[in-house]
Symmetry: C2
Subunit: 231 residues, 2 copies
């Protein structure tokens, strides 16, 4: 069948974009190259630091994201995705510029909780500082009738440090163990489900390593991308 | 430092393109997202089957490749790469259309033999049927003063079958073992170095699994891409 073409606003970080692409490819029913989904990917290191911009020059980020989105549209994208949760905090300035649909990773991930864990009321959120400050996850979780459980300040700083280490290419045992520890502490605080609300996290933590439900925002976005491309 | 932007003619196959991107990312000295190389990637399933086109409608492939290259140029690529060896057989019709440099995976891989295995005179070539028929590897190897060792016809058909299995997503133990067997037979035929002249092969076979030097065309192209982007 002929799929729609997806445009990927990528590079935040580059490894997470590749992880997202791998998930899309693995989730596609394909017997040969020609059966796959057309992905036009801008793995763009030119997006300024989202953590710094959240408190400062928001437009520096949203301008680059908007320009990238329009280039992907011009290249033939029928819809857009962005495998970076934090960057979604800058979407309010970007979405009005678009002419094609945009699949929102945060909203889809929170919808996935309702679909797969309908009884869960307390959601453990693992995300960057800027993502937490932006309230994108907490407000979507609240709107779904649930409550967010966040790491205490010190653990949140540790989580941010781990995310920076992954971005530097460190996916070793120490990082994996520490990341799992943060998830387990959220469970102790009452979380009934854990959300990897940063696409770096699934690079070091998988659902098999936890005793409670674990939802990868990367995997949710990949599944929604395959579904949308097949519409 | 500011890197050049690379345009990637991808999707042949999609997994091999992702493998190439991962190698570029891993080979880049980067402490944060902004240090990485800008890759604009067209993971395009719209390129017709290269095996069939070699004996039939060559222009059906070269037209799609040429259009893709021009779109990548328009999107801002400073140079182009194509992580698929077989598709390079169609380059004679594509190169005259381009306005930016193109890094040739076959020529770079053969140059790598001269650089790293200067005394090797017999080169085992693992590639698709169409790639072998096109003579791109054999002629480059001959020009470097070396001789190509190819699998006998029956083993070549087996290799082609394995490549199709990898493209269908089968990277299991049976495929790995059979692929290694083909490489080892080339060594018995006198090969002093093995070239993975198809970007699907490194998805199941690595240099640690062989007793003789093994050159991955994917890795060579990734290294040349990082060097060119940093010029």
């Amino acid at each position: 069948m002929k799929h729609k073409t997806v445009g990927v606003l990528g590079g935040m970080g580059p490894d997470a974009t590749v992880d997202f692409m791998s998930a899309v490819i693995a989730l596609t029913q394909a017997g040969k190259d020609q059966d796959h989904i057309h992905m036009i990917v801008d793995n763009n290191p030119g997006v300024p630091d989202r953590q710094a911009a959240m408190k400062g020059d928001r437009l520096a980020v949203s301008k680059v994201l908007g320009d990238m989105a329009l280039r992907l549209e011009a290249a033939g994208a029928d819809f857009l995705v962005m495998p970076c949760n934090t960057a979604h905090a800058f979407l309010p300035e970007v979405l009005p510029k678009l002419h094609v649909p945009f699949i929102h990773i945060v909203n889809e991930t929170v919808a996935e909780i309702a679909n797969t864990q309908p009884r869960a009321r307390q959601v453990g959120v693992m995300a960057t500082n800027a993502c937490i400050e932006s309230d994108v996850y907490q407000s979507a979780i609240l709107a779904s009738g649930r409550r967010s459980i966040l790491p205490p300040a010190e653990r949140q700083q540790e989580l941010m440090g781990l995310i920076h280490r992954i971005k530097r290419g460190d996916k070793g045992k120490a990082v994996k163990r520490a990341m799992r520890g943060i998830a387990m502490d959220l469970a102790k605080q009452g979380a009934e489900v854990i959300v990897a609300g940063c696409t770096e996290i699934p690079l070091v933590l998988g659902k098999d390593e936890l005793d409670l439900p674990f939802i990868s925002s990367t995997e949710v976005l990949a599944r929604r991308t395959v579904a949308k491309a097949s519409e």
